[in-house]
Amino acid sequence: MMLLALSEHPAPAAGGGHGELDVMGALFVFMLATFIGVMVIQRVSRLLHTPLMSLTNAISAIAVVGAIIVSAGKDYPGYITALGLVAIFCSTTNIVSGFLITDRMLKMFKKQEKVAK
């Protein structure tokens, strides 16, 4: 039991940041990222709010990172792996469709001179 616990938590840090949990550090990152997000998004042209939302959709599919970590874990019970794999599927769907449709929409936005031949 104890061995399993050890292999999961404090020791190897590589699996995408399983290091010692630094609560305050994580909260700082969250706070700063939120401010950056708010400031950057406020400047997004209103013309582009639909593509913005599909882009952030794709970005929030960053959950794929967690899904991979869960799926790839050695000696995890099968149902844990299965949950992770479904999560990878969902996230990948969002990544692929989110980026593709954003680009498809953005290609359509044209200025005056480019439209008039």
Partner: protein
Amino acid sequence: MSAETLVQILYLISTALFILSLKWMSDPETARKGVFSGVGAMTLAVVGTLTGVLATGGTHYWWILGAFALGAAVGYPLAQVPLTAVPQRTALSHAFGGLAAGLVGTAKFFLYYGQKNEAALTPFIVVALVAEILLGFLTFTGSILAAGKLQEVKWIPQRPVTYPGQNASNLALFGVALGLGVALVLHPLAPWAPYAFGGIILLSLAFGVLLIIPIGGADMPTVISILNAYAGLSAVAMGFVLNNKLLITAGALDGSSGLILSVIMCKAMNRSFFNVLFGAFGQTTAASGEGEQKAYKADTVESAAMVMEQANLVVIVPGYGLAVAQAQHKVREVYDLLKKKGVTVKFAIHPVAGRMPGHMNVLLAEAEIPYDDLLEMDEINGDMPQADVVLVIGANDVVNPAARSDKNSPIYGMPIIDADKAKAVYAIKRSKAPGFAGIDNELYFLDKTFMLFGDAKAVMGELARKLAGEGGH
């Protein structure tokens, strides 16, 4: 360099690219660079994670590859939907995002629980886990339902569903979920903990449904934005659980985007978050159509064409009806013909026109109308008195002067496009019934207003023919 350092460096670059990606969305000129940067960021994130997993001896690579392939196979067709269906596609992808977060949270909890890993289940982690699954699963069912409403799936009620004590019972259920969450934080390894966890999952799934059924179509832009924020926040919570700063950052970017869009939508409707979520708009308002029977003044497309030809400035106000009728290409024809006759044509776009933020802009851009002619409400309202003709296509509440004058109107105080200040108004309407919010529109009964009844696409097509001079004079 250790594998962990390499992973963190890849994550760092990925984070920077995500921020740049959103920064480049500030201008249509640079926006496509934003997509490439986002793709780069996501690639680095996946490569980094796989590197880390490889270094610590992970398994199941073929399965993971398979899940990727399947996801891509489903994602590709989802990106090819017609642009009128973008709101429901967006809602559907919020659902996928929420589900992914919820599943990872569930897996993590049962993993730690199975390992009796007391060190991992600190109060902070458990709080984050509960937040992750609550937001994740709520977003999942809520977004599925929203997508169903937008797609007009038959078995999902379009009209808001309300019943007595709705908010009170929702609040009570939320209290139960909160209580289970607190119990879990205190005793994460108790024998009953999996049941408490399962209970929170079921309640979260229920909340998604309960929060969306009272919401009507006109509130969809706000609701989609709020669900967007929830999906982002659930990724943040996952970042806390996994102690992964990339997840925290990317989730926070998504969360703040959803938040800002929700605020913009709420302001554009003069309503608070609370009011949107708990107000059940549209239900109470349908009754307000009392008073004298007013008569519409219908006109022919031919005379509308004649008036527009003579105009200097024509302002077109598009709404959801344009999207439903897929009229954007016919609108483009009319736009071109009027321009050729020396008429200035502008589009006045209300923030909540359509079913999601920016919906109208995308449709009109699809029809190759240059974006310099798509103006925001605030930009065009000053010019409205100079407009010779305002052509309202499938919009209703966003041009209803009752928002300015009638204190009893449910949309009172909502900023509107001042169509009533123009010299003449033509409004295309599918039927004589009131709009989605069920409110009568005074604009349609003004002396200078003429109605063109019919499907927006058909009417615009006929207008284009008359302007081109076919079958006319």
